[in-house]
Amino acid sequence: MIYSPSPLAVIVFGAFVAFTLGLSFYFARRTRSAAGYFAAGGQIHWFVNGVAFAGDYLSAASFLGICGMIASYGYDGFLYSIGYLAGWIVALFVIAEPLKRMGRYTFADALNSRFQSRAITLSAGISTLVVSVFYLIPQMVGAGALVTPLLGLPHWAGVSMVGAVVMLIVVTAGMVSTTYVQFLKGSLLVVFSAVLTLMILNRGLTTEPEAPGFRVPRVGQAVSESAVGSLSAAELGLVGEELLPEEGKWSDTPYISTRNLETGHVTVWRESPVMSRNADGVLAAEAGQVKFYETQTLTVLPDGKRLVNGLPQGHGEGETDFFPVGNIERLPGGETSTGAIGPVDFFSTLEGSDILLWKQDPSKYPVSIDGELATTTVYYPQLTAGTDILLPGKSPTFNGIRGEALMPKLNFLSLMLALFGGTASLPHILIRYYTVKDQAAARKSTVVGIGSIGFFYLLTLFLGLGAMTGGVIDPTSANNNMAAPLLAKSFGPLLFAMISAIAFTTVLGTVSGLIVAAAGAVVHDLMTSVGRMQLTDHEKVRAGKLTAAAVGVLAIVLGILFEHMNVSFLVGWAFSIAASANLPSLVMLLFWKGTTRQGITAAILVGMTTSLAWVLLSGDTFTAVYGLPAERAPVPFNQPGIVTIPLGFAVLVVVSLLTRRTNAKPVV
């Protein structure tokens, strides 16, 4: 879909970015030391820090990715909400207070509190950099996805803009400004998500949502499957259309094409079984009965020109664009609207409803236009039971859990394990424990963080399902990262502007935090501790700013390269790498006295390299990044955690046992 910028959205967005930068410049004048730059001087109030935790954590993955995944597939996106919050339990109950006690600036400080080993500092510093970069990718992809409908700019422009603004923020004031940006953004995100949820419930569920540009797709009448070939368009219930000869690209496919008798426009229709609820309330196909649903097509010509439904794509004269989709076809009891609805009734009504979800036909249909060979992609609606949408296993990521094969189930367990263990291993979360003054403040800020984050995650299912049924979905978007802001747009331009600006600030805040974490690792761990460079406080801050700029440029490049992937899925990788590299060392250092410095170093390096290698050799990477078939991937499933996290623990124990003697001090 082509988006036009909304002036109001641009003004609100500009005001948000200006305020954020103003805040950053204000704090820049107060940041004089390395402690102030990297850890905010340890003086942030625990409540501010707690909400800033939410700001750090509720990244593009949560707001854009989870809502987008729920809007596309239903419950599966909510599994991420559950896993992400569960990770905070590990952070609060196991990691928070000891980490605060042991460290000063970075995660490596904590690991090194007992050993003062350069090898640990080096490996932890590298691991921080790798995890930060992997976490940065989805944030930048989310930024690009946001700016497209907001400002009408292409993806690369959005990514570059976020990169530039974030570098300005981080280079000016470091952790202090990052913290207050996160506080602001965390508060606004939770409050406005709650407002949006209340508006969804107040509007209720309807078969004809009033979103801008939305219309219910046309559908023919039920006919006998065996008679389809002999019926006219009128007999198929395709009013005002004439059938085109079934030849060329559409022969032997579930499609027919028609020409409108009035406008001459061509429409492609897809044959679908007639579905109805049986006596048990289960949605099932009626034997031998079919009907035709209107589809939307995209034809790409050899010169790159795009035709939508046979016309040039655009908003000018003689042009057209995709119309937004996603609606309930049948509500329980044949109603057309529920009116305002409570949260419990929202789910029970959806369970009894049938919803039109749009899919992309994986086949590319060749077509000859003026002697040139073009390809056509078809997007079509599919009637889906609400009961199916509200269960795990609908999305390609998780659909294996509904089958019998073991590998897809292991893939699911692996991701849920990585989400559980990954939070407490994320460098930009860990460094936030150093911005408060003591362990009690670390504990209290984590509780505030869990409260804010948990409340937001409770809302994600309402937001995602509201978008799914609200007529706001872009049928061509495989990842639907824009579902939540577009849902807001259906309530008016002001809410869209606010939500988009908050989402953009979300990306700014999270990227700032990640870049500060990466800069801290480079300057504090790699340059001064490992490289033994003698830097003054002022030089440390300057080196941190230079590193921040370099990481920012890298993030922009990666954000452009990974444009087409769902941001939540990408964050799953970051969690896997973080949990595999960092969690074994953190946990064993706290709970096993036999841990040695060699054990910690080996566990970090093995956990990081094996999880990274697994991700790079997975089927999803083969398909999405290398353009190769997933079957050629050498690893049996996509998510590494279930193998590489235990491997990290095993390596730590074995290496620690082997090196215990060399570490033992002689008794004099």
């Binding site: 419950y75 339990i89 207070e97 269960l391 795990p392 367990l413 559980f420 409260g451």
Partner: protein, 91 residues
């Protein structure tokens, strides 16, 4: 604007060793409770997905109830932890 004036890092009053041990004990107990619930949820979704379709209450399936339940449990346990660890001066 004293609270926003960020000078060099300054340590606060850390917990005493006894308080640290008490907090660690409470944290571990609550961690085990939550982990058990989370594990049960994940294993049910993976190996008995049909159970998730059952509707225990209000015509809403177990998947929704258990998902919301885990989110609320995390909030409740974090508050319990904070309350149990509030007392200072444990000797």
């Amino acid at each position: 604007m004293a609270p926003l004036d960020h000078g060099p890092a300054a340590g606060g009053a850390d917990d005493t060793p006894l308080e640290q041990r008490r907090n660690a004990r409470i944290g571990m107990l609550l961690f085990i409770i939550y982990t058990a619930c989370y594990t049960a949820f994940v294993l049910t979704a993976a190996f008995a997905p049909q159970q998730m379709a059952t509707r225990p209450w209000a015509d809403i399936n177990l998947a929704i109830w258990s998902g919301f339940g885990l989110l609320v449990l995390a909030l409740v346990l974090s508050l319990v932890y904070s309350w149990l660890c509030r007392a200072r001066g444990v000797r």
